[in-house]
Structure formats: structure tokens, C-alpha cells
């Protein structure tokens, strides 16, 4: 590790120039944000959830604003892994940051198929296995809410995926440590958490739900206390490096996640409010270390 860079961190074999990454589904494929920031200033970007074949997602309306947050029910709309490999990958492969693909599916076979195809893309150093999407009928969260299922899908993907394997966990469980340990035992290299919290919103005047799917995933500052608790619990009881996320809006929020044990962080919903927020968070974290005379970010990791 380059100790002259106080923010450099490592997730297994993936070196990040700083701990700031972008959360899947909130940053497109990166290039949409190049008017607002330099991708090279970020530790990494996690691209939109990618499935075996094209998905149209759920019907409109897919979004509802809620106090200090929002619900979404996009439902993994994407053009499929082959489109990603042939059309999108060539456009982003030479960007000087870590490009992580979020891999989703309805069956173990689909996760394996997508992971194997992404494994062959040279400039993708890691995948984030999404076993926690609350917005699809089959698969998704079902794999992330049972330790047996989590073990099976992570083991199967581990067989075909040789690079850094991150598993994204759902907070919609009774015991998140149990799922985290199952993923660790199955060969995960890192854990990212939390995905959105299952929620709903109602229009009292119209007497109907605000989302076409009735329920959706809650994100934004409203979920941060839950996310911090989950990261803290998992960090204490597994050995894997953790990527923390959930309601991070500024550098102080990001530091809080490091203090409870995260090695890196992902910024999600905040990208919708301020498209250059990730770059600002990197600067804010640098300032924090200087202000507290800390030589390297790892000194404060997991001190709580």
C-alpha cells in the first residue's frame, strides 16, 4: 500500500486511490457525470445492476420522495450483460478508476453466467454480487435473506469468478451477521452494505400507493442509522473488508462509516442532489485527516 497517500485503501486485490465509490444504480456508467467531476478523482464506480438478458424494469411510477430520502422500484432495468460487454465496456474500460460491475440475477445460473462473462473483461477488477435487490419478483433479495441461499449463490459465483468478489447485503433480515458469515464462508472477498430498506409510501388523497409495485427500496439520509449499525455489527464479526453505504451525503457521514469499520464507502442517492458530491467528499475526507493529524485513514478504521 502507498502510505504516502493517506486515503489509499485496498479491497482484496483492488487498490483504491481513496475510499469513495459510487453506488450501483445512482451513477449510470460514470460518463453521465463527467460534466460535473473527474472520474479519476474517485476510488471506484459501481455501474448499474447487470443481468443475463435485457430487463425493462417495473412500470412507472417507480419513485416516491419520502422524509429525508426516497423510495425506488426501478427493478433492475438494464440491457443485459452482452450489451454491457460489447457496447458499454469499450466506452469506459480506459477510465482511470476502478470500474466494478454490479451483478444481478433471478437464478443461480444467471448470476454465474453474468459473473463468468464479466470475469473475461480485463479492466473490470471486481464485481459486486447483488443478492439484495428488493424490487424484482424472482431472485434478488431472496438470495440475500437466507444464509443457505446466500452461501449457494456466492459459492457458485466463486467457482467462475477469479478477481475481487464483493457481495452486497440486504438490511431486510433479522440477523445480518449470519448472512455476512455465509458469504464469507462461501469465498467472498469483501462485503458491501446496505442495499435499500423495503418500504412503502401512500397518497392519502388518492387513497393509493405511490409506487406501481406498492413496495420499494428506501435510500437517503433516512437509512443512515440503520446502515451504520449493520456495518458496525458485520465489521466486528467478519474478517472481510467492508464497503459501507446508506445515506452518505457528505464527508462527515463517510468518516462515520470508516469509524464503525468500513474500508471504503459508496455514495448513492446524494448523486441525485449534487452530481459532484463524490469529489467533494474526497476533499472533505482529506481535510478531516489533516485536521485531526491522522497519517492514514486506516488509523481510524473500526475504532468504534
Amino acid at each position: 500500500m502507498n502510505t504516502s497517500n493517506p486515503l489509499e485503501v485496498k479491497i482484496k486485490d483492488m487498490i483504491l486511490r481513496n475510499p469513495v465509490m459510487t453506488a450501483s444504480g445512482t451513477f449510470g456508467y460514470g460518463y453521465d457525470f463527467e460534466d460535473f467531476l473527474s472520474l479519476e478523482s474517485l476510488g471506484g464506480i459501481v455501474v448499474k445492476g447487470t443481468t443475463g438478458s435485457e430487463r425493462q424494469g417495473n412500470p412507472y411510477p417507480r419513485m416516491a420522495e419520502t422524509p429525508s430520502g426516497m423510495l425506488n422500484a426501478v427493478g433492475l432495468q438494464n440491457k443485459g450483460v452482452d450489451y454491457f460487454s460489447n457496447k458499454i465496456y469499450p466506452k469506459i474500460k480506459d477510465k482511470k478508476t476502478n470500474i466494478v460491475v454490479n451483478v444481478s440475477g433471478s437464478t443461480i445460473e444467471e448470476y454465474v453466467e453474468v459473473a463468468a462473462k464479466i470475469n473475461s473483461l480485463e479492466n473490470i477488477p471486481a464485481i459486486e454480487l447483488n443478492i439484495s435487490c428488493p424490487n424484482v419478483k424472482e431472485g434478488g433479495m431472496a438470495f440475500g435473506t437466507s444464509k443457505e441461499m446466500a452461501f449457494r449463490v456466492v459459492s457458485a459465483v466463486r467457482q467462475v469468478y477469479g478477481k475481487t468478489l464483493i457481495v452486497k447485503l440486504s438490511p431486510n433480515v433479522t440477523n445480518i451477521v449470519e448472512i455476512a458469515k455465509a458469504a464469507e464462508d462461501a469465498g467472498a472477498d469483501s462485503l458491501s452494505l446496505i442495499n435499500t430498506l423495503l418500504g412503502m409510501a401512500v397518497d392519502a388523497e388518492k387513497r393509493e400507493p405511490l409506487l406501481s409495485t406498492i413496495t420499494g427500496g428506501l435510500s437517503g439520509p433516512a437509512v443512515k442509522p440503520v446502515a451504520l449499525r449493520c456495518v458496525w455489527q458485520v465489521a466486528k464479526q467478519t474478517k472481510l473488508p467492508i464497503i459501507g453505504m446508506g445515506g452518505i451525503m457528505n464527508a462527515q457521514d463517510a468518516i462515520e462509516f470508516i469509524l464503525v469499520g468500513a474500508t471504503a464507502i459508496e455514495v448513492g442517492t446524494a448523486n441525485f442532489i449534487n452530481p459532484s458530491i463524490t469529489e467533494e467528499i474526497v476533499k472533505g475526507m482529506e481535510d478531516y485527516l489533516q485536521r485531526h493529524n491522522i497519517k492514514h485513514i486506516s488509523e481510524i478504521r473500526g475504532v468504534i
Binding site: 445512482t26 451513477f27 448499474k48 417507480r62 419513485m63 420522495e65 426516497m70 432495468q77 437517503g220
Partner: protein, 252 residues
């Protein structure tokens, strides 16, 4: 190129108790803005407003680097913006969306209520390009008719009001201007009105463009919340739209 920058409020012009025009000063040279594009406003000082608010661009004054936004109060965000005063700062992400595509030499613009907002700047651009236009505005009453003077300078103005206080009494769909020939129709307003105009255009084989208002989060194409069903599957209103040819929309 998109920007995320602060503007200064030059004027907040109240038209009715629920309708106002914000005139905003850009501190630099305004970038190229196409008619039909919109901005995402950061609303500050209201606890329950978390996301930006998408508002279409009503007018652009390139010479003075100013833009105007026509806003109707529909909820907490637009109520909060109503309180803005001269000198206040407003952060915008802009310009967003595709904007209008100009086709032909003689076009009809149809606007309903505050939905007519993007048509004024469009008229300016049409005039510059020497394209003949008629504009048909439908509104509740004379008090809800905004930018009348500008419309008259730039185009042939036709108006319908629900109470007959100005122009023809009734709805835009019954106005005689619709019997003339046009190369294209551009319509912005309530969905039932846009559907009726689109149906009329379809019967006469005239291309019809509408401006869709969908709930949005990011406004820059990444959250996939604002999708509309088209013949080519779900498309993002914020980047593929908000202007769509109605023959491409499933619901029209």
C-alpha cells in the same frame, strides 16, 4: 455539456396566487440552451423536500444571461420556491433534456395552463429561423394568461378560456385554428389535452410532439425513475425526452 451552478433571483413575478415567474441571473455567459429543455432546482429551507425539482425553461435572455422559469405551486417544493426574493441564490443543474426538434415551415404550438411554459422560448427560436407559427393557449381565465405580450410579438396568438373572459370560450380542442394546415404540432399541457391534440394530429397525419412531465430524481439519466413506455421499450423522460413524438409513445 451540463452544469451545476448558482443563479441569482432577479425578480419573482407573481401572476396568480399559485403561479409565478422566476427571473434568474447567471453569473457567467449562459451556455447553449435549447427550447423545451429544463432545469433541476435545489430547494432549500424545506425539511420535507429532499430531491431537486424539475422545471421547464420558460424563456432565455442571452444578451443579459438570464433565464425565466414559470412555476405553479403543486406541493411543498414549489411552495418554498414561491418565497424567493430578489437577490436570493438558487442552485440549478441545467440544461437538461432533448428540447424541441423543428420540422417544416409552418407550425402550431398548443399550450394548456402552466404547461405552456416552454413555448415562449420556442417561439423566439422559431422566429429567428423564419418559421411561421401560430400559438393556441388554453387557460382557466384571463388572470391565468401569462406572457401574452411576448406571444403576440413573436407569433399569432389564439386563446381559449374556460369562462370566456378572453378569446374563445371553451377548450383548445374546439378552436378553429385547428382546421388550418400545419407541418407539425407541438403541445405542452395537461395529459388529457395533449392526448386530444395528438389524436387530432394523427387523424390529419401531422407529426405531433408533446412535452412529458414525469416524476424525476436525478434529471441526468442515471436513476431510471422517470421512464415512459415507448415503441422501443422504456425510455428516460429526462434524457430521451421530455419532448417525444406521440407516434413513439405507447400511451398516446
Amino acid at each position: 455539456m451540463k452544469y451545476c451552478k448558482d443563479f441569482i433571483v432577479v425578480k419573482n413575478e407573481i401572476i396568480t396566487p399559485t403561479l409565478y415567474i422566476l427571473r434568474l441571473q447567471y453569473p457567467e455567459t449562459l451556455p447553449e440552451i435549447k427550447p423545451g429543455q429544463f432545469v433541476e432546482i435545489l430547494v432549500e429551507g424545506e425539511r420535507d423536500v429532499f430531491l431537486r425539482r424539475p422545471i421547464s425553461i420558460h424563456d432565455v435572455d442571452k444578451e443579459n444571461n438570464q433565464i425565466a422559469l414559470l412555476v405553479q405551486i403543486v406541493g411543498k417544493g414549489t411552495s418554498q420556491l414561491y418565497k424567493l426574493k430578489e437577490g436570493d441564490t438558487l442552485n440549478l443543474v441545467f440544461p437538461l433534456g432533448n428540447g424541441f426538434t423543428v420540422i417544416g415551415k409552418k407550425v402550431l404550438l398548443v399550450g394548456g395552463g402552466c404547461g405552456a411554459a416552454p413555448l415562449l422560448y420556442f417561439l423566439r427560436v422559431l422566429k429567428q429561423q423564419n418559421i411561421k407559427s401560430d400559438i393556441l393557449i388554453g387557460c382557466k381565465d384571463i388572470n391565468h394568461l401569462f406572457s401574452k405580450k411576448e406571444y403576440k410579438e413573436l407569433s399569432n396568438l389564439h386563446v381559449t378560456t374556460e369562462d370566456g373572459s378572453f378569446g374563445e370560450k371553451g377548450f383548445v380542442t374546439a378552436h378553429p385554428i385547428l382546421n388550418e394546415d400545419f407541418d407539425a404540432i407541438y403541445c405542452c399541457g395537461p395529459t388529457p389535452m395533449m392526448k386530444a391534440i395528438s389524436q387530432y394530429a394523427k387523424e390529419r397525419n401531422i407529426p405531433c410532439y408533446v412535452s412529458l412531465e414525469h416524476k424525476m430524481a436525478c434529471g441526468i439519466g442515471v436513476c431510471l425513475c422517470c421512464v415512459v413506455e415507448t415503441n422501443q421499450g422504456n425510455k428516460r423522460t429526462c434524457v430521451t425526452g421530455p419532448i417525444f413524438l406521440t407516434s413513439e409513445l405507447k400511451d398516446f
